[in-house]
Amino acid sequence: MKMQPEALLKQEYKIRGGDFVNAGESSCRIRNTLREIGIDSDIIRRIAIAAYEAEMNVVMYAHHGTMQVDVYPDKILLIVDDRGPGIENIQKAMQPGFSTATEEMREMGFGAGMGLPNIKKNADDFKIASHVGKGTKLEIIILLDEKNG
């Protein structure tokens, strides 16, 4: 088995469910951090979109959660772990347009059913694990190529 090299940088942010006022702050801070360490702007954009969608999922559906960003020499790993209702049917949730958002959320412009598909689209590797009644964990990997390294 190949040994995983140690992360150069680890940061963790807390996300509170239902906190629409501060929603998006964690992904914004991650973006600033990545800028300061010179990650290519197009890579940052992909991470920003994935992080924002994941953060919004926690805010909209879960009680609370954490977003962790690990910077490796060759990739960025984003782990979003929440305590919440979990997802009953992951396959369904991955379908574009599928959403369990409430009417209120939709009125605020959320819940278009593009969250998870959008994360997947922007990730080089994407894992999702969920336990109904417990919570959901996302692992998002975005690779840094030679040019951006």
Binding site: L8, G24, C28, R35, E36, G38, S41, R45, A48, G109
Partner: protein, 434 residues
């Protein structure tokens, strides 16, 4: 072209600067530091928004514009006023009177930019029709917004509308037409923007999307205000009704926020003004939040160009004036849509090249060193008081920490930290004596 190629269009007058922190505090890109009692602008970060100029209580921030003597180089001088000028002289003065007065103060010709604004409105629709992604398309009119995106939102450069703004298109067209009609060499014609904007000079001397600007200089509305006012008082009532009929209500609307989107058939368009709100909405765009929006107009000055730092009239009165003018001239399209479409297809409006990202530099070019510096920076932030007082010469504690890790400041620059140390030291002394 202007003789002196300005890199930026503002400078600090050190004789007037007393080293207060007013400008440093409002700078959206944290480009200002106060060192040895004077404000210094880091031009790598500056986006020429004029925020500093607006707040300086001592008028120590000077906008750089074309000097009147510089105009004498040209055989034929054309004034190209921003539609904002129509809002500056009270509610009774009509656009034509202002154009005539402007000509009378020393120009051979004046041209109403509002008409070209309306042309660009049509061109924007053409572009949106033909290009369905990315979204939103962000307006390229405000030179500060373009520079803000290059530095703080580099990945959004591809969302910028790749069409030149009205002032450039008007100048491009004028030079060809006037050279032909008056039998002049193009370089003998001086086309001068009469502007409310502190960034215009830099967008003319260092354009981002072509080799050289079609404009030859910029003079602020403030500079010509008094002279135009005097002419307005002495001039007889206007008789140039023919030109009056061509004034465009849609074009005049470009003077304030929403001008670009009001006439657009794409209903799902948004306009934003002011530096903080612009930054906020661009953050949302970068998160992919606003993909359902077709067109985003961002203007860095509050309420748009009528809130420009080089205006005279307060922007609320100016807004009332512009609304009245729109009512008067109506929202009827006055340009030849077919002609605009043809010009559009000929790439008459297009950028020569796309806006290129100019990201602010990372903490270090070497990723590993940058990460080390980032960790050190976070450590320093935790020791600083977090009160963002600015006495150290940096706008806030976070920026001081960044300056320290970059070697541009010292921890001792924080006077509170020093005091904290002294307090704990004197406590230690007491303990020793006890």
């Amino acid at each position: 072209m202007v003789k002196q190629a300005f890199i930026h269009s503002i400078k600090v007058d050190e004789a007037k600067c007393i080293g207060c922190v007013a400008c440093m505090k409002v700078c959206p890109t944290k480009a200002i530091r106060v060192r040895n009692g004077k404000a210094h602008i880091n031009f790598e970060r500056c986006i020429d928004c004029g925020g500093c100029l607006r707040v300086c209580p001592h008028n120590a921030i000077i906008p750089l514009t074309t000097s009147p003597s510089d105009l004498n180089r040209f055989k034929y001088k054309i004034a190209l006023p921003s539609p904002v000028i129509y809002t500056q002289f009270g509610e009774k003065v009509m656009p034509n009177e202002i154009l005539t007065a402007l000509q009378d103060i020393g120009f051979d010709h004046v041209y109403d930019e509002a008409l070209v604004c309306e042309m660009i409105s049509v061109a924007i629709e053409e572009y949106l029709d033909e290009n369905k992604s990315p979204r939103p398309i962000i307006s390229s009119t405000c030179p500060v917004v373009v520079r803000l995106i290059q530095r703080l939102f580099p990945s959004l450069c591809k969302n910028i509308l790749p069409l030149e703004p009205p002032r450039e298109i008007a100048a491009k067209n004028l030079r060809t037409e006037v050279a032909r009609d008056k039998n002049l060499a193009p370089e003998d014609i001086g086309i001068i923007d009469i502007t409310p904007c502190s960034a215009k000079m830099v967008s003319i001397s260092r354009p981002e999307t072509m080799e050289r600007s079609h404009l030859d200089g910029a003079i602020s509305i403030r500079e010509i205000y008094n002279e135009v006012m005097m002419k307005l008082k002495s001039n007889a009532p206007m008789i140039m009704m023919q030109t009056q009929a061509r004034i465009s209500g849609i074009g005049i609307g470009w003077a304030f926020e929403g001008g670009e989107i009001r006439g657009l058939k794409y209903g799902n368009s948004v306009s934003v003004s002011g530096v903080l709100d612009t930054i906020r909405i661009l953050e949302d765009v970068e998160s992919g939040k606003l993909k359902n929006i077709e067109y985003l107009e961002c203007l860095i000055c509050p309420d748009g160009c009528i809130g420009g730092p080089l205006t005279v009239e307060n922007r609320f009165i100016a807004k009332s004036n512009v609304l009245r003018l729109i009512r008067h001239f109506g929202g009827k399209k006055r340009v030849n849509t077919e002609l605009v479409r043809t010009l559009y297809k000929d790439n008459f409006f297009s950028f020569k090249w796309a806006v290129e990202p100019k990201s602010l530099p990372p903490l270090d070019k070497d990723r590993k060193v940058a990460i080390k510096k980032l960790k050190l920076k976070e450590q320093i932030i935790s020791t600083l008081p977090g009160t963002n007082c600015g006495i150290c010469g940096a706008p806030d504690c976070q920026t001081l920490a960044e300056d320290i890790v970059l070697g541009a400041a010292k921890l001792e620059d924080c006077i509170y930290l020093d005091r904290k140390k002294q307090v704990s030291k004197s406590n230690g002394d007491k303990n020793e004596t006890n």
